[in-house]
Symmetry: C2
Subunit: 498 residues, 2 copies
């Protein structure tokens, strides 16, 4: 982009530049990057037009209180990319202009009413998970499924990122894989992740998904027609119930006792059942081995497909080996296994997977292609490298120890802060399931606690009949640091009626 | 992890180590990383067990032909992470062991037959896109939708990656956003990307998707029930037709002429139509302004929702401004806009978006949450930074110039290499749409060409009636470098019957 002499040279006073850069954040991305972002954005917005003269590097450095060579470096990169141009003895000027199509006619938004009668489904009618998006702003987030980011293995993740950003690696992930996955991630799953759970699968028995949510919704789409009898746990994970109810009018609520789902007549009626075995969600129940075997026997006798949502695998807090997962006990190939890295590493990555017979995986691969092609390949590749370098194993070990201390701390405090309550946390679970006295309403407690900066998850959302769940709440400890736990629990205890 | 004296110290001869490291690839990830991957994998696999003594750094360096400090650095990192331990005067030993649950009973895969009668839908029955996954291994890939990776802005992408891997940034993206998007990406879309196309949207009128494929499949799920009349173009994009046919028994094939889709009686019967306006897929037709206006008039009169799949926006080859998109001309808020970064940046990233009235976005947000929560946040954040730094604009400019040269080269050669054929490539399109003489079969040509290392896309897949498409093929030029074009076309020309 060659600089053309500007028709009219614009000069702005210092105050304009100070205002333009007012949002500079010393704790955010690098200052060099922020300065460039601001100038590019102003050019794209038409705020800075072709020919506008920029302050000298010395002047801008003074105005912003940054090192002069930060400004010099930022200007130079923008000159290299053609956004700015330097003219001998007269300074640095904007050399690029934006082209945009004028706003069209004022839009009439047809409004909710008119659109509503065009929807084939109405997802917003379902019961909604209410997780505060701004949970990081609360002092005491006793949440499940979020991590205090201090747990995230920043340096090791960066190493895996760097290793996958060479030109050759980018060759490997930038392209469209159509319906395929990154072979390296599939290998790491097969050889390192799954064998620890007793699962030995071939590459064509595995498909990668956008987290376990996507795995479950694809399975529902594949197996559940308008009349299919599908079993979901009650209490159970809200969005599995939502999924099932969106797909069929025959969603059956399965009974759950202290050992997890009950292999009773309700289950026997189902054609397919979506189950949490390792830790029943939300009660944390670890299903005993005998129950697992009984479940498989029932499924075989009544020809039920079992989907095992093993959302909390891998992260062992108690140092002891887990029970073999349902899939590893399955002699008849009727268990479909769903796993995820959301609960053990970072939910924001959205990587999960399905292990299933190859004829099922083959259909899922086509379905996934039509739905969204494939999960982003760069993330698959970074994760594969992260696992291959042993970082995942190390992360699980470190995180397990951290979470174990938190769990022990909470166990020790609960009798004192919540007298008259009962609770449960089975080995390895990352949350407590707490039951209040008969008149207790966890929704009231959650609202009052939120005012004090304490977040808990009311139990009603997990039950088909919210009233049944009123006395329960979930207390997670992956998102709250050890140092905050005692103060948070005491605040919570003070809000509970005695 | 403290090293425990091993029960029995294992010593392997050099040949074992050479074999273990046999797959070291000098062009792949860094050697340090590959050495660590290999050792970690061997430990996880149980090939190297606790107490096994490793070769000295000097010895391994000689065996592998790498610098000794590469081996030293790799060993040291593995010691830091507890995989290896160093014992004074006796060497370096494996200090970790793997724990895995034994393989369960031999599985009976129920086989295709038994699963088949459990599927509610059968995606593999649809007509399948057949893109060779190994296209990078072909010398002359005249494909659409793949990029020769040389086009990917490696260094600038890396800068955006680095900028988003600070601890504070990771705080921002590692968590579960439930149903939310990265606010920075939404801002960049609103302020930089969309205005160039005449679209001015509020944040709550935008949702991010896993590429445009995911955008379209969500819209189909939201608007298309079992009986909804949905219009898809014929010829048109195969997987849009597949999606529509999976959702309803009333998919209508819309007529397409040289100006794109025709606003005729067939369209008027539809409740919703999925259209390509900017470049009709696969004919490359740019719909003239008057046709766009007629289309909007028809939609208003007959109450049709129009989905505009603007898959090829942004990347201008001809230097001239594009026509305003349908969405920007829409006075009645009945156009839903779908965009993507797959065709302009990298399909492997899987980032697209929908712009729609806020009541539609609100439903889509719930639907997306239930389907898969949200697209990976780290990729959203990297892309936002990439755009904010002006790298996207620069990339479009550079890539536009590269692709323009390829297009001109092909235009110049076609009359000579394919005499008797007709072709079309409207301004800005990244492919040619080629029609052979009456007896020509593009499937035959594609098969013969593939043998010679030349990939083209037969036209039949784009047509509801494959026979109609037999004479056509698509010739893309985003995946093939300029230097290969002439030789590839001549090979192709030699295969065409004269």
């Amino acid at each position: 982009m060659n600089f053309q002499p500007a028709p009219a040279q614009k000069l702005y006073p210092d105050i304009v530049w100070k205002r333009l850069f007012a949002e500079l954040d010393r704790d955010g991305q690098g200052l060099n990057i922020q300065i460039r972002r601001t100038i590019v954005c102003a050019i794209e917005q038409g705020v800075l037009t072709n020919g506008t003269r920029l302050p000298s590097t010395r002047r801008l450095a003074v105005l912003l209180g940054v090192a002069r060579n930060t400004v010099t470096a930022a200007y130079q990169l923008l000159i290299d990319e053609g956004f700015l141009a330097s003219r001998e003895r007269s300074g640095i000027f904007v050399a690029a202009s934006t082209s945009r199509i004028a706003a069209g006619p004022e839009r009439q938004d047809a409004g909710d009413g008119q659109w509503a009668n065009r929807f084939a489904i109405r997802p917003s009618d379902l019961r909604q998970i209410d997780k505060p998006r701004d949970w990081l702003d609360y002092s005491y987030p006793f949440l499940f499924g979020q991590f205090d980011p201090a747990i995230f293995p920043t340096n090791n993740w960066r190493e895996a990122m760097r290793a996958t950003s060479s030109v050759k690696e980018i060759y490997g992930w930038a392209g469209d894989r159509v319906d395929d996955d990154d072979p390296d991630l599939v290998e790491q799953l097969r050889l390192q992740v799954l064998p620890k759970r007793g699962i030995f699968a071939d590459p064509d028995e595995i498909i990668v998904t956008i987290g376990s949510q996507h795995a479950l919704s694809m399975l529902v789409q594949l197996f559940v027609g308008a009349g299919t009898v599908v079993g979901v746990e009650d209490p159970g994970y809200t969005d599995i119930r939502n999924m099932a109810e969106m797909a069929t009018s025959n969603a059956h609520m399965l009974n759950v006792d202290r050992h997890g789902v009950v292999p009773d007549a309700t289950l026997s009626e189902c054609e397919i059942a979506l189950l949490t075995i390792g830790h029943q969600c939300p009660t944390t129940a670890v299903m005993p081995l005998q129950r697992r075997k009984d479940l498989l026997k029932t499924a075989e006798r009544d020809d039920i497909i079992l989907v095992e949502d093993d959302y909390e695998a891998d992260l062992l807090l108690e140092g002891e080996a887990e029970l073999p997962c349902l899939k590893s006990l399955d002699e008849n190939g009727r268990v479909i296994y769903v796993g995820s890295f959301s609960k053990a590493l970072a939910p924001g990555l959205r990587i999960g997977y399905i292990v299933a017979p190859r004829s099922v995986i083959a259909e899922l691969r086509v379905l996934r292609r039509i739905m969204l092609r494939h999960p982003p390949t760069n993330n698959q590749r970074i994760l594969a490298t992260f696992i291959a370098l042993g970082h995942y194993r190390l992360h699980l070990k470190k995180t397990g120890a951290i979470l174990r201390r938190r769990a022990d701390l909470i166990s020790g405090l609960l009798p004192e802060v919540l007298p008259g309550f009962r609770w449960r946390r089975d080995a390895g679970a990352k949350s407590f399931w707490i039951e209040g006295p008969p008149d207790f309403d966890s929704g009231d407690l959650a609202r009052a606690a939120r005012e004090k900066g304490v977040l808990i998850e009311p139990g009603d959302i997990f039950f088909a009949d919210p009233e049944t769940g009123r006395r329960f709440f979930r207390l997670g400890f992956t998102a709250i640091g050890e140092a905050k736990i005692e103060a948070g629990l005491r605040l919570l205890g003070d809000l509970v009626p005695r």
